[in-house]
């Protein structure tokens, strides 16, 4: 043992909890926009953890994951906005969105059960687009989704008379709308992480990994591969549904434009970058890919203006360049992700040992 001071485990956890609780107030000092950015980062953690179940654990490459985000968002938008004149409470629509996304996951998953690898990716990509195109066109003859114009004036969250779009003051501390959402998201995040960690080490989690490794052998071991795969799609999708519902509430506006293929690919990139199959790795990947572009947005423009007196490269362009470079470097130096699943890591290090 190294001679260092050992803090009890709860002490570290308490520090992290305190930091997370204070974070929005610190970010408010920089600008309220940063609280919103943090909120979106948490939404992307939900999404990438959901996709991680499908891609990381069960090994099913899903390129249409954003469809379930869309389902969750539209469920909230339709049931809590003037569009249909419905204003249902959050505790009804958030679980309903998760449930419908879950069903959509199973329904879209069912026809893909016999497919693997590239074929699965192509079909799921198609499904993702189908959902988006539906949202775009379900405006006539009956106006359900309001088409490309999207749905506006969506109700925000409203808990026990507390309106989440306005600022309230408790004990002299102002709590802005985004700050209040942050706390709700933090609570949901805790729940989502616990569920994922339990899944990772459960019987179901082992069955997913077995299917990822060798489907035939998994069947021979007595795993009902059809049901277990459907369960992966359904569980993954339900996290997307929760994220979608919160997205609609926070934005107050949804349109099909928010659910394009690019979003699916971003979420997949978070999973791969962080480390497929490892909950903490995926969280790290989601945080990184959520915050870095925003940091660029706020630094690249002033830096260029200061250096050259004008903008030479748009932050958007630079972002793609950096992502591309990061991907290449990752494949070269950390092919299993920044924070890989322990078994991946084990395999990599053993290969090194064997080579040595």
């Amino acid at each position: 043992m190294k001679p260092y001071v050992r803090f009890p485990r709860w002490f570290g956890l308490a520090l992290i909890a305190l930091a997370l609780l204070l974070l929005p107030h610190l970010l408010t000092q920089v600008g309220t926009a940063w609280v919103r950015i943090a909120n979106f980062a948490i939404l992307f953690i939900f999404l990438s953890l959901g996709l991680n179940i499908v891609v990381g654990m069960a090994g099913l490459l899903d390129l249409g994951y954003v469809a379930f985000y869309a389902v969750g968002a539209y469920v909230w938008a339709l049931l809590a906005s003037p569009h249909f004149g419905l204003h249902m409470p959050f505790w009804a629509i958030l679980p309903l969105g998760a449930l419908l996304a879950c069903i959509a996951g199973a329904v879209l998953g069912a026809p893909t059960l016999r497919l693997r690898g590239d074929y699965l990716a192509i079909v799921t990509l198609g499904f993702g687009e189908i959902v988006r195109i539906f949202m775009n066109n379900l405006s006539s003859p009956f106006n359900i989704t309001n088409g490309p114009k999207g749905i506006t004036r969506i109700d925000g969250m409203n808990v026990a008379g507390m309106n989440f779009s306005a600022t309230d003051t408790f004990l002299g501390i102002p709590f802005s709308g985004p700050t209040k959402y942050y706390y709700v998201l933090l609570l949901l995040l805790l729940l989502v992480i616990v569920v994922n960690l339990r899944l990772q080490n459960s019987r179901i989690g082992r069955a997913w990994v077995a299917i990822r490794e060798d489907e035939l052998a998994a069947k021979a071991a007595g795993i009902n591969t059809r049901n277990v795969k459907l369960l992966a799609f359904a569980m993954g999708a339900s996290f997307g549904g929760i994220a979608g519902g919160m997205f609609a509430a926070m934005q107050g506006f949804v349109s099909p434009e928010s659910f394009v293929l690019h979003e699916s690919i971003m979420i997949l990139a978070m999973v791969v970058l962080g480390g497929m199959g490892n909950v903490w790795g995926v969280i790290a990947g989601a945080l990184l890919l959520s915050f870095v572009p925003e940091l660029l947005r706020y630094t690249v423009e002033p830096a260029q203006k200061a250096l050259f007196g004008k903008m030479l490269i748009e932050p958007e362009v630079l972002r793609m360049l950096l992502f591309g470079m990061a991907l290449v470097l990752m494949m070269r130096f950390r092919p299993a992700g920044l924070w890989p699943e322990s078994r991946h890591k084990r395999e990599m290090s053993e290969m090194k040992e064997e080579a040595a």
């Binding site: 019987r203 082992r206 069955a207 990994v209 077995a210 490794e213 060798d214 035939l216 052998a217 998994a218 069947k219 021979a220 071991a221 007595g222 795993i223 009902n224 591969t225 078994r343 991946h344 084990r346 395999e347 053993e350 290969m351 064997e354």
Partner: protein, 241 residues
């Protein structure tokens, strides 16, 4: 063909496998009695692996498969292991990124008798000591022979009555093949019934009590292993004499 016994452990009747329009197995019938060590030999593409996969319900097939008093052809593949029928797939099919211990644990996936599982694990480690040495190693880093041993060990973790072995010698060095067959003999001696599909006809016939010879989807010969070894047709076609 072997005389029709009323209570064969496994009995296939008019088994037929098609891939698209191509017939791989053409209405074959055969039986395996409890406690037997039976092999199915034949050239590449004769339909041996298709037959075994059809028995394990991994591919669609027509015909009847009787196992004990049940019709296997009406059961899904994942329901077989709990009925005592385990498949060791061709090309080993270990879970490459799981450890040896995790692989073996997957073999007992359908069981929940924790104490018995632990006892079985020790029995398998005693039978295959290499696996114990490498318990914490990732299966993908094992040698081919060790992976084959692991695949057999994993199947044994399901406490099978009948073990279906698909080409256990495939791609292994001669010395390793000997070792794998030694394990097969030991397992059989412990009372597990074995149906072995093998290209290495000589070794298979020397190991087994009875054999079937398959040729382009049909069973052409069925006899005791000793008789087959002596049969001039088998000697000419499969033993290279």
């Amino acid at each position: 063909m072997n005389s029709h016994q009323p209570y064969a452990l496994l009995e296939a009747l008019n088994l037929d496998v098609h891939y698209g329009g191509i017939a791989a197995v053409k209405g074959i019938s055969f039986a395996v009695e409890e406690g037997e060590l039976v092999c199915l030999i034949g050239a590449n593409g004769a339909g041996k692996t298709s037959t075994l996969k059809a028995l394990a319900r991994m591919i669609p097939a027509s015909g009847e498969i009787h196992y004990r008093k049940e019709r296997l052809d009406q059961l899904p593949s994942h329901a077989l292991i709990s009925r005592g029928l385990a498949l060791v797939p061709e090309g080993r099919g270990v879970f490459a990124r799981l450890t040896v211990a995790e692989n073996l644990a997957m073999g007992a996936y359908h069981r929940n008798d924790t104490a018995e599982i632990a006892a079985d694990l020790n029995r398998i480690y005693a039978l295959l000591p290499r696996l114990k040495e490498r318990a914490e190693q990732v299966a993908g880093t094992l040698s081919g022979g060790e992976q084959q041993m692991l695949a057999i060990g994993r199947a044994l973790m399901g406490r099978p009555t009948l073990l279906l072995l698909d080409e256990p010698s495939m791609g292994l060095a001669p010395l390793m093949v000997e070792k794998v067959f030694e394990v097969i003999r030991t397992v059989a001696a412990q009372g597990v019934t074995i149906l072995l599909v093998e290209q290495n006809a000589r070794l298979a016939l020397q190991t087994c009590t009875r054999g079937y010879v398959m040729e382009s989807g049909k069973i052409t010969l069925a006899d005791t292993a000793a008789n087959l070894l002596a049969d001039p047709r088998v000697r000419a076609a499969y033993l290279g004499e």
